[in-house]
């Protein structure tokens, strides 16, 4: 009886306490209701930003993301060869607990550990553009450019412009990315199979900057007078070779077939015969589709391989090219 009286007194005297608790709960409930729910974010990290090759991927991922209720975090190193910068961005986004990662590795081996850790932490990853060496599995899928087809397209273009006979230099051979190595293998295999009278007289490895590529191309031109065509396997080597040809007044004389679409103007103005374009727009769409399905439980693991496109002066203004180079990603 006495205890009951005490309890009542406590309740009666502590009305302000209970009122305060109730008020705090109400405020918390209101804040929780008003606080905007975070849209799940996918970190899309290409090799670099602000270039045609990769901004097209931005358009692709932004087009598909709303279908799955996802938002896009888009950032990359300022330079295309900045491996450490890309690892830092990836690690930072994983710490921020993004729901997924779409990554185009600058190099395969150094990024493997970070991707492996992401997968171990349960973050789905779609790798775009090159094989990392990790087998596709739950949470890991690949969207690749058909590099074998790209090598074939370049070889056949060279075969066409040289009339099946001549001497070729191959610059920008890289073992850092399986994609570039595949290009080189396919190119040489197709040349030897289909154009046995075309000989590869010079090969050089890929270098990180345009000026270095230019220097290598200049040296090659100075020492190899009989070169009829150059195949440049990377965007950087394409630029370097083009600059060297222009300096030697050989632009348009020595045929240049490049890869990756960051330098398109010389196709129209002369000096660059053709470029093998990656359909990074479609690759972005496919990657975001895989990611969306993964997050909604219906993912198909494995590889999605998209075909590259040979761009010459003839099809430069075609709808296919325009679609790939569409940069209308912006959705205010």
């Amino acid at each position: 009886m006495r205890r009951r009286v005490l309890t009542r007194a406590l309740v009666k005297k502590a009305w302000w306490l209970w009122g305060g608790v109730a008020g705090v709960l109400c405020i918390l409930a209101a804040v929780a209701a008003l606080y905007p729910r975070r849209v799940p974010t996918i970190a899309v990290i290409p090799r670099t930003c602000g270039t045609y090759l990769w901004e097209a991927e931005h358009t692709g991922v932004e087009r598909v993301a709303p279908r799955y209720g996802l938002s896009v975090y888009w950032n990359a190193p300022m330079r295309e060869d900045d491996v450490q910068g890309q690892i830092a961005i990836l690690d930072r986004e994983l710490k921020r607990k993004v729901q997924g990662v779409i990554l185009s590795p600058v190099e395969a081996l150094p990024l493997r550990t970070s991707v492996y850790r992401a997968l171990q932490g349960g973050t789905p990853v779609v790798v775009v553009g090159t094989d990392l060496g990790l087998a596709p599995a739950k949470n890991l899928a690949y969207v690749l450019n058909d590099e074998r087809r790209g090598g074939q397209l370049a070889a056949r273009r060279i075969g066409l412009v040289l009339g099946g006979k001549g001497t070729v230099a191959i610059v920008g051979i890289s073992n850092q990315l399986t994609s570039t190595a595949d290009r080189a293998r396919s190119l040489e295999a197709t040349l030897s199979e289909e154009f046995p009278q075309i000989h590869v007289a010079y090969r050089s490895l890929a270098l990180p900057t345009v000026s270095q590529e230019q220097q290598v191309a200049e040296k090659m031109l100075a020492e190899n007078a009989g070169i009829n065509a150059i195949v440049a396997l990377t965007e950087t080597s394409t630029r370097g070779a083009f600059y060297a040809l222009t300096e030697f007044n050989k632009a348009g004389v020595i045929h240049l077939v490049g890869f990756d679409q960051n330098m398109m103007v010389p196709i129209r103005t002369g000096g660059l015969d053709a470029v093998i374009m990656q359909n990074t727009n479609q690759m972005g769409q496919a990657a975001m589709t895989l990611m969306g399905e993964e997050l909604h439980g219906g993912a198909k693991h494995g590889y999605v391989v998209l075909q590259p496109l040979l761009v010459t002066r003839e099809n430069l203004d075609s709808s296919d090219v325009n679609e790939i180079l569409n940069l209308a990603w912006f959705n205010p």
Partner: protein, 720 residues
């Protein structure tokens, strides 16, 4: 309502309102703080001071203050320097601006947020001058670029020429204007319904270095907007490309370099040598050669590198100032040095812009071989010491494995940043590796010439187990131990006080009930006895009962006295003991002798109480069983102990072993409670001696030592 209640309510309401106002003031300050855009930087510090002290924060680029202007001397794409408040809404940013290189753009970012290092890594608007197509451009970045407008600038954009750029953000209207030195004005306007409403401002350049001077930010009003709109001429509007045509058009020149323009202007030497090939030239002959390379450092001298190595070019002659990242051709006399070549009397000519060279990651051991001399490298080390160099420069000394090296920063912003690093930190540093003795000071194998704030990165703070931290830790542990000990003692003391109070209460209860009843009973029995016939058995029985009651009364009084410890804390142990003994022996023939040896001092209450209780018990036992003539109490204060001895000259007893009485067992139990030793010696006809010795706690001893030293008592011990 009663008057007092009304007054109470009024008072409560007034106090509540005042408390609310007091609480709301900091909140209001926080909400309204930094809301008014107001900023001015004339960069008058001429290279002194730190960017961060002025609120600037860089995201990429190589920033420094030179001759009253803020310069980004790198060709990074999308280098930003941000300032201001995220709460700023309507404001005008203006400054003089200059493009230092070709094929890029530079201007202001406004209403920005969530800035990161990256090409378009921020949310906000950009307005700037672009020399590729000679336009004033405006657009928005949301971690990706969307260009709204590119308005041609009459007479084009020239590098190394000052333009006045002004950007106004008011509501969802953003207006930019550029003014040439000859007064030609170009404006661009964007209106976006779902605009970004507020944000910081900043400087940004893309693919080129740039300079800004006299940066001013002030609030924008509608009248400012109207004035700028009126100044926007019809012809300019006609020249402005429509916003809808720009986005999505893949012929957007932003993504291409002005190849033809550059090629026309920068024909290079086709016989240029690689930098590594210079090592193969005859060292005794002076050879003039041309090399191509990317600029990796411009101050204190130019360094360039190609894929084969690096080279220093002291006192270079440059027509157009070169920046880090520029591809250049250098022609000069080769001088062979120990690990690399140096190009003397060299002319340096710009070939291409924005091809920055990445650093080569090397260990300190690799760099110490000299194989990377004059090259841009990245390495790690632990900071050992720091000292001032010449001018504003700072020189760091670092250790890595078996190697030590130096890092030299001449850039004041970088130097200020390095000054804040703690010794023992593990750093990742980027810079030009030089083995030249003038830098490495003949002490180290190599030194790094650092360029900007971004060249230093702390990857691991100093280890916590340095000497200072260990001392702090030990001091902290001691402090906590002491606190816990004090808390424990305080609890024990409280418990003892509670026990003593309970005893006091019991004693009073006994006094008020039992003792008084005995007194009343004795009185009644004596009355009955006096009325009984003399010599009758009844009288004898009644007198016997009176004796029994008297004895019971005495026992009760003694127990009451034993239960009441008196003011043990106030009187001290010896006085309390004496008083208790005199109370017990009151009215009897026993003589009491009291002796104290040593320096009396305060002892813990728990020990004092225990000694007191044992002493009382011993005296009571002596009186009850020994019939002594004399009882002597002896209290000895030792250095680390206290000893109480109660001795009587009574009849004594033989040792009972396990069958000792309740009183002796109680004394032993009490002595065990304070870890004291109890010794009882007795023999028939020779009295009994009860001695109890208790150790004193260390804190008491410390205090005692301190008091002894202070009073000079220690001299007596020395002299025996």
């Amino acid at each position: 309502m009663r008057k007092t209640t009304r007054r109470w309510l009024l008072g409560t309401a007034s106090v509540g309102t005042m408390l609310l106002i007091v609480a709301a003031l900091p909140l209001a300050y926080f909400v309204w703080k930094d809301r008014r855009p107001n900023f001015h930087d004339s960069f008058a510090r001429n290279g002194q001071g730190e960017l961060r002290q002025d609120g600037w924060k860089s995201f990429g680029g190589t920033w420094q203050v030179v001759d009253g202007a803020m310069l980004n001397i790198s060709d990074d794409r999308g280098a930003k320097l941000i300032n201001g408040s995220a709460k700023w809404k309507n404001y005008i940013v203006e400054a003089d601006i200059q493009l230092l290189g070709e094929a890029g753009d530079a201007g202001f970012v406004v209403r920005t947020s969530q800035e990161e290092v990256g090409v378009d890594a921020y949310h906000g608007y950009f307005a700037g001058l672009r020399d590729i197509d000679d336009t004033l451009i405006m657009g928005r970045a949301d971690y990706g670029w969307h260009e709204f407008q590119s308005t041609p600038v009459r007479y084009g954009i020239r590098t190394r020429t000052w333009y006045h750029l002004k950007v106004l953000a008011y509501g969802c209207t953003l207006l930019a204007s550029s003014t040439t030195e000859k007064g030609v004005v170009t404006t661009a306007l964007i209106e976006e319904p779902k605009c970004l409403a507020s944000g910081r401002f900043g400087l940004q350049s893309y693919s080129t270095g740039a300079a800004w001077r006299n940066v001013v930010v002030r609030p924008a009003a509608k009248s400012d907007l109207d004035a700028m709109l009126q100044a926007r001429s019809l012809s300019e509007r006609e020249r402005t490309k429509s916003a809808s045509s720009a986005p999505g058009s893949w012929m957007d020149e932003r993504f291409f370099e002005p190849i033809q323009r550059e090629l026309r202007e920068h024909k290079s030497d086709l016989n240029a040598k690689t930098i590594a090939d210079l090592r193969l030239l005859a060292p005794t002959l002076s050879s003039q050669v041309a090399v191509h390379g990317v600029v990796t450092l411009v101050s204190p001298m130019i360094f360039i590198q190609d894929s084969t190595g690096g080279i220093a070019i002291p006192q270079a002659h440059t027509g157009t100032p070169v920046q880090i990242g520029d591809s250049v051709e250098a022609r000069g006399d080769v001088e062979q040095h120990e690990f690399s070549s140096v190009l003397r009397n060299a002319d340096v000519r710009l070939l291409w812009s924005h091809t920055p060279a990445p650093p080569v990651s090397v260990t300190a051991s690799q760099a110490a071989t000299g194989a990377f001399d004059a090259q841009y490298v990245e390495t790690e080390g632990r900071l050992v010491s720091r000292q001032r160099g010449g001018g504003q420069s700072v020189v760091l000394k670092l250790d890595e494995g078996s190697q030590s090296f130096m890092a030299i920063a001449e850039n004041p912003s970088l130097a200020a940043t390095l000054n804040k690093l703690q010794y023992g930190s593990r750093l990742r540093l980027r810079g030009i590796c030089v083995t030249d003795r003038s830098y490495a000071q003949n002490e180290m194998p190599f030194a790094l010439l650092m360029r900007s704030v971004d060249d230093a990165e702390m990857i691991e703070p100093p280890p916590w187990w340095n000497t200072l931290h260990i001392i702090e830790l030990i001091a902290g542990l001691l402090g906590v131990s002491f606190g816990l000990h004090m808390l424990f003692m305080s609890v024990k003391r409280s418990q003892l006080h509670a026990v003593i109070e309970e005893r006091e209460r019991l004693a009073m209860e006994m006094h008020d009930t039992l003792a008084q009843s005995f007194a009343g009973l004795g009185y009644q029995l004596e009355a009955l006895s006096s009325e009984a016939p003399e010599g009758s058995p009844m009288r004898a029985q009644l007198e016997s009962s009176v004796d029994l009651v008297r004895f019971g009364h005495m026992e009760a009084r003694r127990n009451i006295a034993a239960l009441r410890p008196g003011n043990l804390e106030q009187l001290g142990l010896e006085k309390s003991l004496e008083e208790a003994a005199r109370t017990i022996l009151q009215g009897g023939p026993v003589d009491l002798q009291m002796a104290v040896r040593g320096e009396p001092r305060p002892i813990p209450l728990r020990i004092a109480d225990t000694l007191m209780r044992i002493g009382q018990e011993a005296i009571a036992n002596a009186v009850q069983h020994g019939r002594p003539h004399t009882i002597s109490l002896r209290l000895v204060y030792g250095r680390s102990s206290i000893k109480l001895t109660v001795r009587d000259d009574g009849q004594g007893f033989t040792t009972m072993g396990e069958r000792s009485g309740f009183g002796i067992r109680g004394m032993k139990h009490r002595a065990d409670g304070i870890a004291a030793t109890l010794r009882i010696r007795s023999s028939l006809s020779h009295g009994t001696s009860v001695a109890v010795r208790a150790m004193l706690p260390q804190s008491i001893l410390s205090l005692w030592w301190w008091q002894s030293i202070r009073t000079g008592r220690w001299r007596h011990w020395l002299h025996g």
